[in-house]
């Protein structure tokens, strides 16, 4: 256990001055800002008529200027945008050792390779949670500034639960990215994989079978697929969980047993 804590400490030191850290926070904060713009337009009928396409889009997805709609946007940002941003985070955490050339220095140490990877997964989880909390806080701030109608506590607690559940699912589905980073020895393979899952998540969700495609599940759950959310069932969540476990085990096993030539 102390080995695991030391591994985590080492991993945290490594990320101390990562520019990527701030880049992900700034990129992810676009969601509450865009959501705020939506809210602003929804509230102002005059602006709405001018905004044309944007307002049409806002109306189609059934929005009103309320806390509930706003949280809905934030949740969808995680279910859809999170796949991209969390994928970016995982690609960085696991791929950096190869692009920085330090991978070989992590292999023959008293701290086992599994513990080093676990530390990376823990940092990944902390990072992603920090991103979602930051978005929530920015959202609260913007919502307050926009003076959205007072909160209905029941509705809000439901929204928050959805927000949290979407976050957990989106984090879980990131484990295969770690495998691609280690297998591809760098960023390229995992980022390619993220792009691919994103495309497939859209296509498959559009065909109506998204509830069986694990990368579509967080998006559908967040409400980004409208009525398809009701199609999610135990099998959908089981496939997601299974993919996550397989991703984790593949990463650990591969790093432990494969030849390391870079």
């Amino acid at each position: 256990m102390s080995g695991q804590i030391k591994a985590l400490k080492a991993e945290l030191i490594k990320n101390k001055y990562s520019n990527i850290l701030w880049v992900t926070f700034i990129a992810f904060s676009l969601a509450p800002i865009m959501g705020g713009v939506f809210m602003l337009i929804m509230r102002n009928p005059e602006a709405m008529s001018k905004a044309g396409g944007l307002s049409a889009k806002a109306q189609v997805i059934n929005f009103s200027a309320s806390w509930n709609s706003y949280f809905g946007i934030l949740t969808q940002a995680i279910g859809v945008g999170g796949i991209l941003v969390f994928g970016f985070v995982a690609s960085w955490i696991f791929g950096r050792e190869y692009s920085e050339g330090t991978a070989k220095d992590l292999l023959s140490l008293p701290t086992s390779r599994t513990k080093i990877l676990n530390a990376k997964f823990i940092v990944y989880i902390i990072w992603c949670f920090a991103l979602t909390i930051s978005n929530l806080l920015i959202g609260l701030l913007i919502g307050t500034i926009l003076q959205l109608p007072s909160m209905d506590m029941n509705l809000i607690s439901g929204s928050l639960k959805n927000y949290l559940a979407t976050t957990v699912m989106t984090i879980l589905i990131g484990t295969p990215i770690a495998f691609f980073a280690i297998w591809g020895k760098g960023y390229l393979a995992p980022l390619g994989f993220v792009a691919l899952t994103l495309v497939f998540a859209q296509i498959i969700a559009a065909t109506g079978y998204g509830y069986y495609f694990p990368w579509s599940v967080p998006g559908l759950f967040s409400g980004a697929g409208g009525e398809y959310k009701s199609k999610l069932n135990l099998i959908s969540y089981s496939i997601l969980l299974l993919t996550s476990i397989v991703g984790y085990l593949a990463t650990v096993t591969f790093w432990k047993y494969a030849d390391q030539t870079k």
């Binding site: 400490k9 490594k14 990562s18 070989k104 292999l107 023959s108 008293p110 030849d259």
Partner: protein
């Protein structure tokens, strides 16, 4: 082979053992080993101290002085708060060595440890390695800079096309290196004749120099000068040539 010793790659066949223990994922004597494989890389955004802290934690060390000690020993004190990305190649190499040496390993495995070092740095690393060896550590070093190897090694192995073709101590190497007395006079042909008459094993080489390879001549080159002076053929030059490790290496791999 170095990667095999570090458990990074598996041997095609057979097995590798370190300290009498087989190298497999359960091997756990890694704190007895320090290593530097090829170009040393560090986390570019971290300072020298922070880079060492990463490995301090991963090696689960318990003496915080180790970091300061190694920084001091490798003369990185001036740069300790500088980010690794702004270090010169030589200082990056020092940082790599610091990572390998921080925990005072019993066995140090180094692959090309003096790559990129300036002449002063090379001498410093050499001294450091000698010091470490004197305190009882074993150093396993691979390099293509054979002159450097011959200055530090007690035991040398020559690997050619993946096979160990020779392994010998420095003393054995010294006895196997070709030694010759090289002589030049105004009349090499006559000189050659006289030397042969005096039972010296002498030949004329392509550069029109006389090479004498018998033990008596090598032990006492001054006798050769004396002999030639007596015959009125005073030598323009006499010197004792000793083959270096590089020539020995080439001769060895060619004969294989």
């Amino acid at each position: 082979m170095i990667r095999m010793l570090l458990g990074m790659i598996k041997p095609d066949n057979g097995s590798a053992t370190l300290f009498g223990r087989q190298l497999n994922p359960q091997f756990n004597l890694w704190n007895d080993i320090g290593y530097l494989v090829e170009t040393p890389y560090s986390y570019p955004n971290l300072s020298v101290v922070e880079n060492l802290k990463v490995y301090y934690n991963l090696r689960q060390l318990k003496n915080p002085n180790l970091i300061e000690d190694i920084i001091d020993k490798l003369k990185l004190t001036k740069y300790k708060d500088k980010k690794a990305k702004v270090l010169s190649l030589g200082n990056q190499q020092r940082l790599g060595l610091a990572k390998a040496l921080m925990h005072r390993p019993k066995l140090l495995i180094l692959d090309e440890p003096i790559n990129g070092l300036d002449p002063k740095g090379i001498v410093e690393v050499r001294e450091l390695l000698k010091e470490l060896a004197d305190t009882g550590s074993t150093i396993f070093l691979s390099s293509h800079i054979l002159g450097e190897i011959s200055k530090v090694a007690n035991r040398i192995g020559i690997i050619h096309e993946g096979k160990l073709i020779k392994e010998l101590t420095t003393a054995e190497l010294t006895s196997q290196l070709i030694k010759e007395v090289v002589v030049e006079t105004n009349d090499n042909k006559s000189a050659l004749k006289y030397l042969t008459d005096f039972n010296h094993h002498a030949i004329l080489n392509a550069n029109n120099e006389i090479k004498i390879s018998d033990d008596a001549a090598i032990a006492h080159p001054e006798n050769i000068s004396k002999l030639l002076v007596e015959k009125n053929l005073p030598p323009k030059q006499v010197y004792l040539f000793t083959e270096d490790l590089e020539m020995y290496f080439l001769r060895t791999i060619r004969s294989n």
